[in-house]
């Protein structure tokens, strides 16, 4: 087709509803804010890995949907999560990303979570255990028993990741929400403890969903020279893209030929437990969490949306806690070669989504984004994204092709509304 005029350019494509969406859902500040309220505040979020707080009194801080969170390990070894907000006058209680409460802080005692502002102190269960000059100021009107921290739902699961849900009554348990997609890796991830060896973050001018899309579509392997030479064969093109309830997708495995890339080596010797050599599994959880196992190393990405056109992506790499120093080094090398900040593929992926973010920044004209490849649910089929946006439509009660219209299911899973 020759280049199109404005009317042609903005017309709906000759694809079924659901096979394309409206780019406004990547650009609209109101939608982005609503996603935090409707989705992220009700979702299980893998905020960190338990190996990041290995000892009693270790802590980590994070945030979900603008709410600050502190995670700590108690003397009973339980990992618990609380809002990182002081019940007195709203100070951020812990300011560092991680540390240990075994050390006393300037305003408080060891083994306590201390708010530096007026020295209120809390224990590892979130109980308030000290209010400075309590009786003098509050007499019998308020006591420390009434000013505990806000505790949050928190579970350690699926390979030792720490999952938090801001909703006290989630619509579905963590097991029911993600158990099925994790089934293919459950034995592998739970055989023995894992350990994080890599962390870095990126803040990219793009919508968080575009990052998740890139993690769940493999058609973009055309952008990765590495994946073309190590992957493109019959087994690769037969890989299944399997959709699960709640918007998740699992990309099935095949054997990667790492030696086809000059200077790369097979990863067979360091396969995770119960895996045949050089397998590659990918679990993509709605709305933006990715678990990617390339034989010898596990990668986990989590997104934290910062607006319609900004996202924080945290990247973790994991090996087995029992690794010898040599094995760990090899795993790190395997991880870095493709996924590190100086690796072959990650840089390309990030350039890709940043470019999408550029053309879809707020106030750009909405246009049609095509998710219409149908290839029998194999690797280049775009069913992963179609499945994702159906779930998105349900949570938001907005049609992904006409965001001002309510979402409605049809029998065939496609939608009945017309574009705006």
């Amino acid at each position: 087709m020759p280049a199109r005029n404005h009317k042609q350019w903005t017309a709906n494509p000759p694809l079924k509803d659901g096979e394309w969406i409206n780019s406004r859902i990547y650009s609209d500040p109101e939608i982005a804010q609503e996603e935090n309220e409707k989705i992220f505040k009700n979702m299980w979020v893998p905020v960190c890995h338990e190996s990041e707080l290995p000892a009693p009194y270790d802590f980590r801080t994070t945030s979900i949907a603008n709410e600050n969170i502190i995670i700590c390990r108690g003397p009973d070894n339980e990992v618990r999560a609380f809002l990182n907000v002081c019940p007195h006058r709203g100070m951020l209680i812990e300011r560092r990303p991680s540390g240990s409460f075994m050390e006393g802080q300037a305003s408080g005692n060891p083994k306590r979570i201390t708010c530096m502002f007026h020295a209120w102190q809390f224990d590892m269960k979130g109980n308030c255990v000290y209010v400075a000059r309590e009786k003098e100021g509050y007499q019998d009107r308020l006591c420390k028993e009434q000013v505990g921290l806000r505790r949050l739902r928190c579970e350690v699961k699926f390979g030792g990741f720490v999952w938090i849900n801001l909703n006290d009554n989630p619509s579905v348990s963590l097991e029911d929400w993600a158990g099925e997609p994790f089934e293919c890796l459950r034995k592998t991830l739970d055989e023995e403890p894992l350990e994080v060896f890599h962390y870095h973050k990126a803040i990219i001018d793009t919508n968080y969903k575009l990052w998740h899309d890139t993690n769940s579509e493999f058609y973009h392997d055309f952008m990765h020279y590495h994946n073309r030479v190590t992957g493109f064969n019959d087994a690769y093109f037969a890989r299944k893209n399997e959709a699960f309830d709640h918007g998740h997708v699992v990309v099935g495995t095949f054997e990667v030929n790492y030696e086809n890339y000059e200077g790369f080596e097979s990863r067979a010797d360091l396969s995770f437990p119960h895996l045949p050599p050089n397998q590659w599994y990918m679990v993509d959880l709605f709305p933006g969490f990715n678990f990617n196992l390339r034989g010898s190393a596990l990668r986990c990405d989590t997104v934290t949306p910062l607006g319609p056109d900004k996202v924080l992506i945290e990247f973790r790499g994991l090996g087995l806690k029992s690794d010898s120093p040599e094995d760990r080094m090899t795993r790190i090398k395997h991880h870095n070669s493709i996924w590190g900040p100086f690796g072959r593929n990650l840089h390309e992926d990030l350039i890709g989504v940043a470019g999408q973010g550029t053309t879809m920044r707020p106030d750009t004209e909405p246009r049609r984004i095509l998710h219409g490849r149908q290839e029998n649910q194999t690797i280049h089929d775009e069913n992963g994204m179609r499945h994702y946006y159906e779930e998105w439509g349900r949570w938001m009660d907005r049609s992904p092709i006409a965001p001002d219209m309510p979402f409605s299911d049809r029998d065939d899973g496609s939608q009945v509304v017309n574009a705006e």
Partner: protein, 161 residues
């Protein structure tokens, strides 16, 4: 000794210039056959020393040869290097040096080149920890550890730092 220290400083600055110019062959020619290159950082988030990149000379040469096959951000990097310490062994055959390095990215692509190109942004901050061999007065890098302070790396890079 003073002269040798000056030679080592010069090697560090020549390496910075070669890297600034994407002159990979020139950079590698300053390195011994045993050369090992690492990019490292400490993460307070996970409380671990990390290796972000590690390659020997052969692996590096391979990787750099392969660059045209990869999609890469086009913005050039410019290093500001200051040599802090140089210590030459008593035998005069080995040396080590620590330098401070700040890397700027001179935007070509940016997010939107119409707006961003031409601007320089702070890209990375760190130290070079280098070791050298000295044979017949010729200085060669044996190891370089580029130790970064950054854990936020946004798009990262395909280039050695």
């Amino acid at each position: 000794m003073i002269e040798m220290k000056a030679k080592i400083e010069r090697a560090i600055y020549e390496a910075s210039m070669a890297l600034d110019n994407n002159n990979w062959a020139g950079w590698l020619s300053l390195c011994d056959e045993e050369f090992n290159y690492k990019i490292t950082a400490f993460s307070p988030e996970i409380n671990k020393d990390m290796i972000y990149f590690e390659h020997n000379k052969g692996e590096l040469a391979n990787l750099l040869d392969m660059l045209p096959k990869h999609n890469t951000d086009h913005s050039p990097l410019f290093r500001h290097t200051s040599v802090y310490t140089v210590d030459v062994s008593e035998s005069g055959t080995e040396a080590r040096a620590t330098s401070s390095v700040v890397v700027f990215q001179n935007m070509l692509d940016g997010v939107n080149s119409h707006l961003d190109s031409g601007e320089s942004r702070l890209f990375l901050v760190g130290r070079y920890h280098d070791t050298f061999t000295i044979t017949d007065g010729v200085v060669k890098f044996v190891t370089r550890e580029t130790r970064l302070e950054n854990r936020r790396l946004d798009k990262g890079s395909h280039y050695p730092i």
